[in-house]
């Protein structure tokens, strides 16, 4: 099991690097889908079966399709080389390393991080659904309102003005 963690962690990091470094938006989107699938496998390893499949169905199968669709629609081929933002070029990399070090120190100095053998956890669709429709029913209803607003907003924004 541990070897699977390392393989898919490597896949996720390499794909993540490509999301950032690829020059063409379509390639970035495709690499992002690879990240999503690798993370879904990590979820499976963590026993979160339902969330792993939701990740693929909703994230990779619906949200990313929207991205690819918009890239195709706008025919976004190459990124134009930038002329501004000297700041990002010179200070960006050191700041990234600093952030990485900071998070690393925070994680390693926290005693709970060395957890190795957690008690078993039932995370099938049934237990997730039970929790969702009892304890978390209010946030669930609120998100439905959020989605309705989002649909309306998207229609209003993307409509051609006559």
């Amino acid at each position: 099991m541990a070897i699977l963690f390392y393989i898919f962690a490597a896949v996720a990091v390499i794909a993540g690097l490509n999301v950032v470094l690829q020059r063409r938006p379509v390639y970035s989107a495709l690499w992002l889908i690879v990240v999503l699938c690798a993370l879904a496998v990590e979820y499976l390893l963590l026993g979160a079966v339902f969330m792993a499949f939701i990740q693929i169905i909703v994230y990779a199968g619906a949200i990313m399709v929207l991205f690819v669709l918009v890239i195709m629609l706008l025919n976004a081929h190459h990124e134009e080389p930038t002329h501004g933002s000297q700041f990002a070029q010179w200070l960006g990399a050191p700041l990234v390393v600093a952030l990485l070090v900071e998070i690393g120190v925070a994680v390693w100095s926290w005693p709970g991080a060395a957890h190795v053998n957690p008690p078993p956890l039932r995370a099938g669709p049934k237990s997730v659904g039970d929790l969702l429709f009892h304890q978390y029913v209010l946030p669930f209803e609120v998100t439905s309102a959020l989605i309705l607003v989002a649909i309306l907003g998207a229609v209003v924004l993307a409509r051609k003005e006559s």
Binding site: V49, F53, G61, V65, M72
Partner: protein, 353 residues
């Protein structure tokens, strides 16, 4: 030692099952193509393929050879990597979902229980939906990467169509899931065993289609749209888009799209059989080996009926216009799916109280 032998047996069992299922599926795909040409020909008062083998039975083989030996043309301005990747993606995804489809009960061999299914996942249905939801990419990317206008239109149309109808596809199934309370494709068949009785006489098999007629209708219409078949074959509508998303593909890469489409048809028909028509259930009789074989035959017969229906529709119905397709999906099919879920939940709550 016993554990070691157990692991070996599991490995051999899995490999044998995978090989057999893949072989059967590929043959089935080849002969569905033959069947389609024959049936559509008879609907149009023609004879269809007749020259290669008796009744044209070797035609799929000839077609396959032809695909292999045709020149493989790559469009000059195509995005090469994605152009190559798209057909392989379509092919792989089409064959992945067969892994969780059960096609019979189980039987004993050398003291082991062998299930007639590659693997029984307890979230099998979610797995199938996950795989089909990724299938959009192969078509969208094939359309985009060829860098040509008709494929691009086909790809754009298909992404919009497949996202829209995926919702109805899921909603159509929810009613069945509420009744059976499981996501396992084997578990979903178990509650369908037996008959409804009228005055003590077995009257109707307890198939889900009789409890969920609306759910079945929504599922099946959405499934036809998902597999891009007539009357929803807008992504490849040949009279308006030349060939749709695969206009610029030739030779073996085209064959991969072609096989993927028919493999998807088979998967969707298997799913409809399992969820709504009692899967492999049917009359059982005779000695032990016949009781093992018969369920597989019932299952294949039911799937065949669906495939025939697909072909029949192709010979009968005209194509939708694009705005009609979208309006139908969002304004008719989706509300019907919601209505079905709502109605089912009320009935279940009423029965439990």
């Amino acid at each position: 030692m016993a554990q070691f032998a157990e692991a070996h047996f599991f490995l051999i069992e899995s490999v044998v099952k995978i090989i057999v299922v893949l072989f059967v599926l590929l043959t089935a795909v080849a002969y569905v193509v033959w069947l389609e040409r024959k049936v559509v020909a008879r609907i149009q008062s023609r004879w269809g393929p007749y020259w290669v083998g008796p009744h044209g039975l070797l035609q799929p083989l000839a077609d396959g050879l032809k695909f292999l030996f045709k020149e493989d043309i790559v469009v000059q301005d195509a995005d090469k990597v994605i152009y190559w990747m798209a057909p392989f993606l379509a092919f792989t995804l089409a064959f992945l979902s067969i892994a969780v489809i059960p096609f019979g009960g189980s039987f004993q061999l050398f003291g082991h229980t062998i299930q007639l299914q590659i693997t029984d996942l307890n979230v099998g249905l979610l797995y199938v939906f996950a795989v089909t939801s990724l299938g959009v990419y192969s078509i969208a990317l094939a359309g985009w990467s060829a860098n040509s206008k008709y494929p691009l239109f086909g790809g754009l149309r298909s992404s919009a169509q497949m996202i829209s109808y995926e919702l109805s596809l899921g909603l159509g199934v929810v009613g069945v899931l509420m009744i059976s309370g499981t996501l396992s494709l084997r578990g979903v068949v178990t509650p369908q065993v037996g008959f409804w009785h009228i005055a003590g006489i077995p009257f109707l098999p307890r198939w889900n289609v009789f409890r969920q007629p609306l759910g079945f209708l929504v599922y099946f219409i959405a499934a036809i749209a998902e597999t891009n078949r007539i009357p929803f074959d807008l992504p490849e509508g040949e009279t308006e888009l030349v060939g749709g998303f695969h206009t610029e593909y030739s030779s073996f890469k085209f064959a991969m799209f072609f096989i993927a489409e028919y493999a998807n048809m088979v998967t969707v028909s298997c799913l409809a059989t399992l969820l709504f028509f009692g899967g492999w259930l049917g009359p059982l009789f005779g000695p032990y080996w016949l009781r093992v074989i018969l369920p597989v035959i019932w299952f294949c017969l039911k799937v065949f009926c669906f495939l025939f229906f697909y072909i029949w529709m192709r010979g009968t119905l005209p194509r939708f216009r694009y705005d009609q397709l979208m309006a139908f999906g969002w304004k008719v099919l989706l509300p019907l799916g919601f209505l079905n879920v709502l109605g089912t939940s009320f009935v279940i709550a009423w029965l439990h109280s």
